[in-house]
Structure formats: C-alpha cells, structure tokens
C-alpha cells in the first residue's frame, strides 16, 4: 500500500506539467472556441529559445525563463492576432485545420533551426529526493506541484472575481453579445492566446529535462494534455488542473503496474471512456444542444 501511494506521489510532478499544458489549451478554448492543436509545437519553440538563451546568450536561468515567457506571449498573440482572427467566423473544421497546419509548420521550422538531436536544459530545482511523511519526493516535483496549484488558483481568482475575468467569461459565453456590450473582445482573445501559450511553454520547459528537448518532444505530452483537458471538461480551469494531476498519477500507476510502453494506449482508452460515458468530461456541464 505504501508503494502504491509512493507511485501516486511520483505521478504528481508530471501531473503538474500536464495541468499546465491543459490550462493553456482550456484558456484559449474558453475565449476563442478554438482547440489549439499547435500548442505543443509552440511550447517547444519557447523551450528551444530558452535553451539558446542559456547556452548562446549565457543568461541566468531565471532571466532566460522570464524572457522565454515574453516570447511565448508574442508567439501566442501573433498566432491569434495575425492568423486565427482571419478565420474566426469560419467552421470549426477550418480552424482545426489551420492549427494543424501550424503544428506541422512550427515543428518543421524547429527542426530546421535547432536540429533534431536532443538537447538538455536544467531542472528549475536540483537535488536528491526529500522525505515527506515517509514518502520520497524530489524538490523539483515539489516546485512543479506548488507552481501548478499556485498558478491554477491565481487564474481561478482572476477568472471568477475580477473585471478582466468577467469580461473573459462574457466572451466565452457569447462573443457577439460581449462585443456589443463594449468589451474589446479581440484584445482579450489575443491576450488569452498569449497567456495560454505561456502556460504551455511552462509545461514544455518543465518536461524538457525529463524527455530530452527536441522538436517533436511535445507530441506525446499533447495526448496527455488533451486527456487532462477532456477529463476536466474542456472549459473549466480547475478541471484542467485536477485532470492534469489525475492523468499524471494514472499514467505513473500504469507504468508501475502495467507497462511503461502502454501509457499512451491506456490514456487513449481513458479518453475514449470519458468521452463515451460523459462527453462533457467529469467536471463539465451538459452543453445545451442546438436545434
């Protein structure tokens, strides 16, 4: 039993990473109604930029991290402001296809610019596992869990209790009406793309030390992040955080008790099961059907 809980705790670090990725997805989806399939590639470019800042510009880790976040926001803002905005009234399929095109393009560009060999960046915190209530946990995992919970709560507070959040919720409910009410919808949507890309950038920066930094690094993480967002109902920020931790723990348990090579498959089975039984996720509300 102790082993079991040790595996649960061991999954929380990755869970936090999936939570960040899911948060970015959900935030963008809430305001713009678009699932950004290119988020993983964008986040990878942010991380590769961080790598360059560390290794070529020789910046200290914290400064490089801050600069990488700024670049993430520019990438996200540019994507919405210049590309997605032009097709915001098009069918869902067109929007999905554009983000898929961006996924292919950005991953390819990352390969051309940075090459395909794996690179390494350091963990935010190094150090041996510490003993917390008889369970072992690394300082880095503790940092990730704390950061996830902190950022998740901050986003929740902003979204639920501030004027900015109110505007974003209005946009999520009905963009046309929000626009008529005088809310600068384009600004907020572009802002959420910027913030969402920064959040997935954090996920990529946190996962890179474990996976090895390369252009297609996030392809697999993306599946876990989609699963986390779906478990969380694809519209709830708290759901995304909870979903992220659940998926992180579940995949660690799968690796421990079933097979390390079947994680993706079993997580896919989780996606199928959730979508089949509760198409709106464990935390989602039933959408009002059209017609």
């Amino acid at each position: 039993m102790h082993n079991f809980f040790q595996f649960v705790i061991g999954g929380l670090g990755f869970g936090g990473i999936y939570a960040f990725a899911a948060l970015g997805l959900v935030l963008i989806f809430k305001t713009s109604g678009v699932v950004n399939f290119a988020f993983g590639a964008m986040a990878t470019v942010v991380t590769l930029t961080l790598w360059s800042l560390l290794n070529h510009a020789g910046l200290p880790f914290a400064a490089a991290w801050v600069l990488a976040m700024v670049i993430a926001m520019l990438i996200g803002g540019f994507t919405n402001g210049v590309l997605m905005r032009r097709i915001e009234r098009s069918a869902v399929l067109v929007q999905i296809v554009l983000t898929l095109g961006l996924l292919i393009l950005i991953e390819g560009l990352a390969g051309v610019l940075w090459g395909y060999g794996p690179k390494s960046i350091p963990q935010p915190l190094s150090g041996n596992p510490v003993n917390v209530a008889s369970f072992l946990i690394t300082p880095n995992d503790l940092f990730i869990i704390g950061l996830t919970v902190g950022v998740g709560l901050l986003l929740f507070v902003v979204f639920e209790w501030t004027r900015v959040g109110l505007a974003m919720r209005a946009i999520a409910a009905d963009r046309e009406v929000a626009s008529l009410m005088g809310i600068r919808t384009n600004l907020y949507v572009t802002g959420s793309w910027a913030l969402g890309t920064a959040l997935s950038g954090i996920a990529a920066i946190l996962v890179a030390p474990s996976l090895g930094l390369e252009p297609t690094m996030m392809d697999q993480v993306a599946v876990f992040a989609f699963a986390a967002a779906i478990v969380g109902g694809f519209g709830s920020l708290i759901g995304a955080v909870v979903g992220g931790f659940l998926i992180g723990v579940a995949s660690n348990l799968i690796a421990a008790y079933v097979s390390t090579n079947l994680q993706l498959t079993l997580i896919f089975a989780v996606i199928v099961a959730v979508l089949y039984v509760r198409p709106d996720g464990l935390f989602g509300r039933q959408a009002v059907s059209r017609q």
């Binding site: 699932v35 393009l105 997580i267 996606i271 017609q291």
Partner: protein
C-alpha cells in the same frame, strides 16, 4: 474574407469543383491523367527510385481519398488515418505470411475488412462527438496504434516488424518496382470506381446530408449516428487497403512506419487538394510523395513546406488546389482584359 468560410463553397460534395471547367476539358484531363499513369513505367521503369515514388503517390492517393471521404464528403474529422493504414498493413503482412497461397484479391479485401472493423468500433462514439472532441479522439487513436504494435510482439515482432512478401497470383509473384506500380494502380482504380459509385448513390447523399444539416437529415429519415459509423467504416476500409498496398511497397511493416506526422501530412494533402474533391486529393498525394522523395536527404524541410502550404492555402486559396484551374482561368481572362465571370460559378441551369 467571407471566402474563408467553409460552410459556403468549400465543401462541394457531389458538386465537384472541377465541374467549373467545361465538360470536354474535364474528360480530356481525366483521359490524359489515365494515359500518363499507364504509360509512365515505359519511360521511367528502369529508375527504381522514381517508380518507388510513383507507387508511393498511388498508395498515398488512396489513403488521402479515404480521409477526404470522411472529412470532405462526410464532415467528420480523423487525425489518425495513419493508424488505419497500420492496421491494414499488419493485416496484409499477417495474411501473406500465415496463409500460404492466398490469392491477392482476398488478401486486399481481408486487410480492408479488418481495418473496417476497427473503423466501425472507433466510429461508435462519433454519433455523440463532433469537432474538437472527435479530432482529439482520432489523434489518440493514431498515436496509440503504433504503440500497441510495438508491444504486441507475439503478433507483430515488435520494433523489428514483419517482412511482407511481394504480391502473388497463383504461382506468379510480382516483386519488381514496375509490377508493384501496376498492382497499386489497378487496386487504386478499382477503389476509386467503388468510391465514386458510393458517392453518387443514396448512401453518398446520406453522408452529405449529415454533413450539411443533422437536423434535416434526421427529419428525412436518416439515422445520423448509424450514417456516421458507416462513414467511418467505409473510410477505414479504403485506408486499410492503402495500408495493404503500402506494406507491399515497403516490403516491411513496423511501428515506425506510421508516425503521427503521416496522419497530419494526409490531412494537409486533403486540404491542399480541396475538401470533397477526389481529383484534388490525388493531386495532393502526388505532391506529398514528391516532396517526401525530394526532401528525404536534406533534413526536415518536408513539414515546413507542407505546413506552410496549408497555412498559406487557408488564407489565400481557401478552396484548395482543385480550385486552381478555375482561378487560373479567371486570372487569364482578367489578363486578357475581359470581364471576369461572376463570382458564383455558372450552373447548367444558367447556361441552358
């Protein structure tokens, strides 16, 4: 940019974009393509790399048309079409290895049928899912299949993969690049005839009806869920056949043969060729195969070209490449100083 709206003009189901050209010109183009496809090996047959690329284009052609059936004609999404190819490929390899003397038509049908069963199962939840959820579901499928193939070593030999013998009829085997090319061409043509036959029938109309309005389709007695499941099954069948052809072309199926990027490239090719355009999809397949052949040595430009083309196309030529002849014709008219035709392509009714 109302032109960018998919709902308006992009999804010309039974109305194909090529219809915009005069009938004679269209027939001429089809005959020309057929002649080129048939006599091609007479000129290039000695160059096995060219023959390989040409055969790859045929295989991709079937795969991309099968995806377009789903996306363009049926309004559904699959980001895991390579997963279907994988199932077809493994089924073909297993049949060819374990059933000695199996006639090739049976093998091809078997690979298609095995894949169709999986397509049926994957299609079951789609009655309730649409848009983003369907995209994520199929993406997960596409990523999971190679992983399953990797781990089910008793069946698939894991990473080593399965060696696929060349196609055979009776005691004759067809191992040369030119023979593989004709084998793939014949299968592709049969599949295209079948697909056109389905699209022109009440079944094809039901696919399009569900795509255009689920409510109206229901009121007209169409079981929307059953129709979507049938669509997934049909698409998977043809993708499985493409997987069979691919297995023979490569001579090997392994988990690495079907990366997620392949599914993405297929999707890009559907968009490049134009939704709901079979001929456009075939053109997209040629482009995909050629880019792959030309960029395989220089590292990594293939995704840049394909992804960049998709993004640019969505912004500048939103109806896909199938629209290009019509656009070119219009540009030519403008260049000659004549008044361009109306934005709405004239229909037969207007002409008569």
């Amino acid at each position: 940019m109302s032109e960018l709206s998919l709902s308006a003009a992009r999804r010309g189901a039974l109305v194909k974009s090529i219809r915009k050209l005069p009938l004679g010109l269209r027939m001429l183009a089809i005959v020309a393509v057929a002649i080129v496809a048939i006599v091609f090996p007479a000129f290039e047959g000695s160059d096995s790399f060219v023959m390989y690329t040409a055969t790859q284009a045929l295989v991709y052609g079937l795969a991309i048309v099968s995806l377009n059936l789903l996306v363009g004609f049926g309004g559904q999404i699959s980001l895991g079409q390579a997963g279907f190819l994988a199932i077809g490929g493994y089924a073909a390899a297993l049949l060819a290895i374990h059933v000695s003397g199996l006639p090739i038509p049976i093998e091809v049908l078997g690979a298609g049928a095995a894949t169709a069963v999986i397509g049926f199962l994957l299609g079951l939840p789609t009655g309730r899912l649409r848009g983003h959820y369907l995209a994520i579901l199929t993406l997960g499928f596409g990523v999971a299949i190679p992983e399953i193939a990797l781990n089910w070593t008793s069946l698939t030999q894991g990473r080593t993969g399965l060696t696929v013998p060349p196609p055979r009829i009776g005691n004759t085997i067809f191992p040369t690049p030119t023979e593989l090319y004709y084998f793939s061409l014949v299968v592709l043509v049969i599949c295209l005839v079948a697909i056109f036959s389905i699209l022109a029938s009440s079944t094809g109309r039901a696919f399009a009806a569900v795509r255009d309005s689920e409510a109206a389709a229901t009121a007209m007695g169409i079981n929307v869920t059953a129709t979507k499941v049938l669509l997934f099954t049909t698409s998977a069948f043809f993708a499985g056949v493409a997987g069979d052809l691919d297995a023979h072309l490569q001579g090997l199926v392994s988990p690495d043969s079907f990366p997620f990027s392949l599914s993405l490239f297929f999707f890009a090719a559907v968009v490049l060729g134009g939704l709901a355009s079979v001929w456009g999809s075939l053109a997209g397949a040629v482009i995909l195969a050629v880019i792959e052949a030309e960029t395989s040595s220089s590292s990594g430009w293939e995704p840049v070209i394909l992804g960049g083309a998709v993004v640019l196309l969505l912004l500048f030529l939103p109806r896909g490449l199938a629209d290009f002849p019509y656009r070119a014709q219009q540009a030519l008219r403008r260049w000659r100083g004549r008044k361009p035709r109306a934005a709405v392509p004239p229909s037969r009714a207007e002409v008569s």
